[in-house]
């Protein structure tokens, strides 16, 4: 009967219950929607971020972070990679050599970062000069297969850099850098194989990629690398565990997760996640206030009824249960609808994606990363389950005091005028 009492009491003031329910449904469904889009956005940010010359995990010489000189390179990187892939065969490893250099074409010269890459491997994990980013010419792997272009080593450069140097595909540029021997500056000519556009000013203006072996030769550092970048499909928790284990296994090296290697990206993701948590907090407050308002109004008007129940022999706990059940039913109903609507919205954005550029008219850059035009909603079921359970718990917590007070009404209230 207490269930019947609770349900009918909710229906007693349909307008108040409906209004509370609508508020909770709206807030909760929006929370699910934003939770999915936020997590999807974060994944997109991280995915694109680690593909911008980074990696999920970076392995480098112990002193490279403090002093990125050619004296602090990884010697025989293939041995390190073998050690890593024996333990984690699912990881994709690429070797890179980076140096600050001068690129010249005719009367133009620009200081930039040259990245020596393994063309075929890099092309699978990088978004800087892959097929999608190349707006003119070829990627490095395509160029290396083109026998007619083999007079010189190939180089891919950013769109803005190409404009600044006034070069086109097939033009020759000269790279000047200080070799490891510390001798005079070393120079090498490269043919512009491709021009890429990432949308990121820093990369498009001050970045170029050449084959790893060409740069090793130029810098006189055969079989050495600045870093080994590792890529993984694992979830963040597994990735963190792998990083931890690698840190122990490769104690002579500096093993950094992307969060350390790209602090701006990590800050952007963390800041955005904080915004999401703030939204969740607002939703929790809305739900709590909505339920509390309904329960307070409802119990305030029923003092005489509670007194009557006590007078007739009901235990205080029974009266409290009725009030608690009202809140639980209202919350359960509203959350179910909110969950269904939120999941429906999530499904839409998980399959169709949210076209950021279409909605906001411009692509968005965050943490040094240009977000993809379209990203997809991703729901973390454990986070969602926790949210639902937390809201239930919150419902009980905010109702507890009014419920206890209702149960401790004096039976004399039954004899008083309403």
């Amino acid at each position: 009967m207490i269930h019947k009492l609770a349900l009918r009491n909710l229906l007693r003031n349909k307008r108040r219950s409906s209004l509370t329910s609508v508020i909770i449904v709206f807030a909760f469904s929006m929370m699910i929607l934003f939770m999915g889009l936020s997590d999807g956005g974060h994944k997109a940010m991280i995915d694109i971020g680690v593909r911008m010359g980074l990696g999920h995990i970076i392995v480098q010489h112990d002193s490279y972070s403090d002093d990125p000189a050619l004296q602090h390179l990884i010697a025989k990187p293939e041995q390190v990679i073998e050690q890593i892939t024996q333990q984690y065969p699912t990881l994709t490893a690429v070797t890179r050599l980076r140096v600050d250099a001068l690129i010249q074409a005719g009367r133009h010269g620009v200081a930039l970062t040259i990245s020596g890459v393994q063309p075929n491997k890099e092309n699978q994990v990088s978004a800087i000069a892959d097929q999608k980013a190349i707006i003119a010419g070829q990627t490095l792997p395509q160029f290396s297969q083109d026998q007619q272009m083999q007079r010189l080593g190939g180089i891919v450069i950013g769109e803005t850099l190409a404009k600044n140097l006034e070069v086109r595909i097939g033009d020759t540029v000269t790279i000047t850098a200080k070799p490891a021997s510390g001798a005079d500056l070393a120079r090498s000519a490269f043919m512009v194989a491709g021009i890429f556009k990432t949308g990121l000013h820093e990369i498009d203006t001050f970045w170029a990629e050449v084959p790893l072996t060409s740069l090793q030769t130029l810098l006189e550092v055969p079989n050495s690398a600045s870093q080994i970048a590792l890529y993984s499909q694992a979830n963040p928790e597994t990735l963190a565990a792998i990083t931890q284990q690698l840190t122990t296994a490769l104690s002579d090296y500096d093993v950094q997760p992307w969060q350390t290697a790209a602090p701006e990206l990590y800050s952007a993701v963390t800041l955005d996640a904080a915004g999401m948590y703030l939204l969740m907090l607002i939703v929790y407050v809305v739900v709590a206030v909505g339920i509390l308002n309904t329960v307070l109004m409802s119990t305030f008007r029923r003092q005489k009824e509670f007194g009557m129940m006590i007078a007739l022999g009901s235990r205080a706990s029974t009266v409290s249960k009725v009030v608690l059940l009202e809140a639980v039913y209202l919350s359960a109903f509203s959350l179910s609808i909110g969950l269904a609507l939120g999941l429906w919205g999530h499904y839409h954005f998980a399959t169709e994606g949210l076209n950021f550029k279409e909605v906001f008219g411009t692509a968005m850059e965050a943490g040094g990363v240009l977000l993809p035009e379209k990203f997809y909603s991703i729901l973390d079921t454990s986070k969602l389950t926790l949210s639902v359970l937390f809201v239930f718990l919150l419902t009980i917590i905010v109702t507890l005091i009014p419920a206890i007070r209702a149960g401790h009404r004096s039976p004399l209230a039954a004899t008083q005028d309403a």
């Binding site: 009967m1 019947k4 009492l5 009918r8 009491n9 229906l11 007693r12 005489k304 009824e305 009557m308 129940m309 006590i310 007078a311 007739l312 022999g313 009901s314 235990r315 205080a316 029974t318 004096s410 039976p411 004399l412 039954a414 004899t415 005028d417 309403a418």
Partner: protein, 239 residues
């Protein structure tokens, strides 16, 4: 069944106090059909509230079935009210969201009576008060007299020893009053349920076995009337 000794009730706040009941000594025996009469403000309702364990006296001793009520916890008091006392309030006090049948079943549910049994007893009781065909109606769909009958049905369905009714006819027309009184007298005679009313309605007083006149918080007169049914209690202690 009920023994009140030197019962006083004082209502007080920071500014004033009101001595509502003054040294009440009273014994009510099992099976009595008693009316507590008196003008408004004489303390009738307060006395009923104390006898019904809804309120506590400021001083004095209350024995119910030879037990000192002052020693009972609030849960024990609730259990006694649930199992031994039926209440009929002036304003009916039905649960508006429950039907007549559900209202009648409510106390039995509190007592843990099985669903089947309490439904059967509730239907029988509603039929006994002439509301069998209205059992599925909500209070708002019943007249004042019908609501009061449901309240009576609720009070007696759990088979209490004592029914306390605070001016049960105050809101009823003559026909409903007569019909309700017939029912209560019948229950008193057939089941031996003790009835204690508060009322200044002459139609109620003339049906009583015993009338306790209260004035300014004191028992002024305690009279046994002639319409005491054979087999009903004879004893009454005057104040």
């Amino acid at each position: 069944m009920i023994k009140l000794t030197k019962i006083n009730k004082i209502f007080a706040d920071k500014h004033q106090s009101f001595h509502c009941l003054k040294d009440i000594d009273l014994t009510i025996n099992q099976g009595e059909f008693t009316v507590i009469a008196g003008p408004s403000g004489s303390g009738k309702s307060t006395l009923l509230n104390i006898m019904g364990m809804l309120d506590k006296p400021t001083s004095g001793n209350y024995q119910f079935d030879d037990n000192d009520v002052a020693k009972f916890s609030s849960n024990k008091l609730a259990d006694i009210r649930r199992d031994k006392i039926g209440f009929v309030f002036q304003a009916y006090n039905l649960m508006p969201v429950l039907t007549a049948l559900e209202n009648t079943e409510m106390i039995m549910e509190f007592s843990g009576v099985s669903k089947k049994e309490r439904k059967q007893r509730a239907i029988e009781t509603l039929e006994a008060v002439g509301l069998g065909e209205f059992k599925n109606r909500f209070p708002a769909q019943l007249s004042g007299g019908q609501q009061q009958r449901v309240a009576v049905a609720r009070a007696i369905a759990a088979k209490p020893l004592l029914v306390i009714a605070d001016e049960p006819t105050a809101n009823l027309d003559s026909q409903s009053t007569e019909s309700l009184l017939d029912l209560m007298v019948s229950l008193n005679e057939k089941l031996g349920i003790t009835f204690i009313f508060s009322s200044h309605d002459p139609r109620v007083i003339e049906r009583a076995h015993r009338v306790i006149h209260l004035q300014d918080g004191k028992v002024m007169r305690d009279e046994q009337l002639e319409n005491v049914t054979a087999g009903q209690p004879q004893a009454a202690m005057s104040s």
